[in-house]
């Protein structure tokens, strides 16, 4: 089998596995939609400041929830499932087969990308049909590029987290302890203007906010041009590379218990 066909083969079974894990489906697919409903219901009618100008609340929350869904489909989901596969010996088992390790990783990455793309479509459609949030056609290149770069970077961070997390039980706790505060610091739940300055600075350091800001640019009707956000994308890519380095140097296939 050629490498591309092997990746496709692995991806098909990974995709099935994802949809059979109720917890993953709930947290990655259902919960962002619930959050979208909650936040737009509470804050949707107030204008929110974005890029120095005010936009409708709903327009702010659609890309915010999208960022959350992408992080959930990539970093969170990968860290939890890969740790579990490693600690149960499944990864060690796979390592004894002729499957090249990078094909296995690529299959996981494709699965995360497919779920991310699905969430982009779902959230954008709901935003449009239910809340009247439009997506300007001219910003489509920015949106597509951000989704690809963001997904790849956040996947690499998921693999890196897996390398750091010691046990299956620790995985959900560690990932959520990292990601949940970042959603707040990054202005995803509560608009940036209402967040203390210190928290904003913390948010600036981490990739979640940059993912959100790049997505926000695509949905912001005041954006001129293609919404390709060079700085945000570079920060995302930098974090992705750092994650990739940590992952390739420290990733283990055998359980810690052995």
């Amino acid at each position: 089998m050629s490498a591309a066909r092997l990746v496709w083969h692995q991806y098909r079974y990974d995709q099935r596995t994802f949809w059979r894990e109720p917890a993953a489906v709930f947290f990655t697919v259902a919960l962002p939609l619930i959050f979208l409903f909650i936040f737009v219901s509470i804050f949707g009618n107030e204008p929110i400041e974005a890029g120095g100008k005010e936009i409708a609340g709903a327009t702010y929350y659609v890309p915010g929830i999208l960022a959350l869904a992408i992080v959930s489909a990539t970093t969170v989901n990968l860290a939890i499932t890969m740790t579990s596969l490693r600690e149960r010996g499944t990864l060690k088992r796979v390592r004894s087969t002729p499957l090249p390790p990078w094909v296995f990783m690529a299959g996981r990455l494709l699965t995360a990308l497919a779920v991310s793309v699905l969430m982009v479509v779902l959230v954008t459609l709901i935003g449009r049909l239910v809340y009247g949030v439009g997506l300007p056609a001219r910003t489509l290149p920015g949106l597509v590029l951000t989704v690809f770069v963001g997904t790849a970077a956040c996947c690499c961070l998921g693999f890196a987290l897996t390398a750091i997390i010691p046990s299956e039980n620790a995985a959900p706790a560690v990932t959520n302890a990292l990601v949940l505060p970042l959603y707040f610091f990054s202005g995803i739940f509560i608009p940036n203007e209402d967040i203390p300055r210190g928290m904003q600075i913390v948010g600036d350091v981490f990739p979640v906010k940059h993912l959100f800001q790049a997505l926000l640019a695509a949905f912001n009707p005041l954006t001129k041009g293609t919404a390709i956000e060079g700085v945000h994308l570079l920060v995302l890519a930098g974090w992705g590379l750092a994650g990739l380095l940590v992952a390739t140097r420290t990733f283990r296939w055998s359980p810690h218990s052995s």
């Binding site: 596995t17 010996g89 499944t90 088992r93 004894s96 087969t97 002729p98 499957l99 090249p100």
Partner: protein, 308 residues
């Protein structure tokens, strides 16, 4: 007959601890080879070096003509591995798991046929996570077989099985032998090794203490047969024929069932003499038995610390 595994003076240290201290092994193609030893003897370390999971400290290792520490996908497609503790894809069905792994290999076996071989045809569409422990282990074996490997590593394949499941697992392993596969099996069940293996090696404290055919190990020249029986009340050991009485005294204590034990190197002659004596005296020898040592006795003799 070619050589599947050749190991010379294999050593592995973890810091100051030397887990494997100069192991020599040779496994022939088409052979079922059992690797025995108590926990912590260096069994798993040795197997994982052979499988390519661990790097050795020193020594020469060749598995299917290649050094496992530099394994390539082509080499991995020729081996199959069943780990001691491993969970298979719990959310995929038996058939899906096998289809997934079949895709990893250049010339996989037929999925249905492999399920049948592992006795899982009835569970084909069940999720692996819902299988019983024994069924999961058989799925694990089926996954190791799906690439049609030349050499199979089975690390304690029946630990935790009930007797019926063990028997059916033995049938699977025996049929692998019939397919011409080389099987490297670790176990701490002696009856399993005796039942399945063409040859065994026993490891203790990182060294091989015995290697050979199970029957040879169990029945070598130095080995004696134990004749056990009970004398009726009022008949003393001193009344037995002189030679037998001497052997009984020499052998010492009674067994757990309170029987006299006679260690004999000429069991036919000694049994005949004992029976003639009993018939002449009109004495019943209750619980009379002649016991050949099992592999287990040899194993316990070699691996248990002598009591001081």
């Amino acid at each position: 007959m070619g050589t599947a595994i050749a190991v010379r003076d294999l050593r592995k240290s973890y810091g100051h601890l030397e887990a494997v201290r100069g192991v020599d092994l040779e496994v022939h193609e088409g052979e079922i080879f059992a690797f025995l030893g108590p926990n912590g003897a260096g069994k798993t370390t040795t197997v994982e070096i052979l499988e390519g999971y661990r790097q050795r400290t020193s020594g020469q290792v060749e598995v299917l003509g290649a050094d496992p520490s530099k394994s390539t996908p082509a080499w991995r497609s020729r081996i199959g591995v069943v780990l001691q503790t491993c969970q298979v894809w719990s959310l995929l069905t038996v058939r899906e798991s096998l289809e997934l792994h079949a895709g990893y290999y250049p010339l996989p076996r037929d999925v249905d046929q492999t399920m049948a071989l592992a006795g899982l045809s009835d569970q084909a569409d069940q999720r692996a996570g819902k299988l019983s422990g024994g069924q999961q282990r058989r799925l694990d074996v089926a996954l190791a077989l799906i690439g049609d490997p030349e050499l199979l590593f089975l690390d304690e394949p029946t630990t935790g099985f009930d007797p019926a499941a063990r028997r059916s697992a033995w049938d699977v392993v025996a049929s692998l032998g019939e397919l011409g596969k080389t099987v490297f099996l670790t176990t701490h069940y002696m009856d399993e090794a005796q039942h399945l293996a063409d040859r065994v090696a026993i490891i203790k404290d990182g060294r091989i203490v015995a290697q050979g055919k199970p029957a040879e190990l169990a029945g070598g020249d130095r080995v004696t047969t134990t004749i056990a029986f009970r004398l009726p009340g009022g008949v003393g050991v001193g009344e037995l024929p002189v030679e037998i009485a001497g052997l009984a005294v020499e052998h010492g204590a009674m067994d757990q069932a309170g029987r006299i034990q006679v260690a004999s190197r000429q069991p036919v002659r000694h049994l005949a003499e004992l029976c003639r004596w009993a018939l002449e005296r009109g004495v019943e020898l209750e619980g009379l038995e002649a016991l050949r040592p099992t592999l287990e006795d040899v194993y316990l003799g070699l691996t248990t610390e002598p009591r001081t």
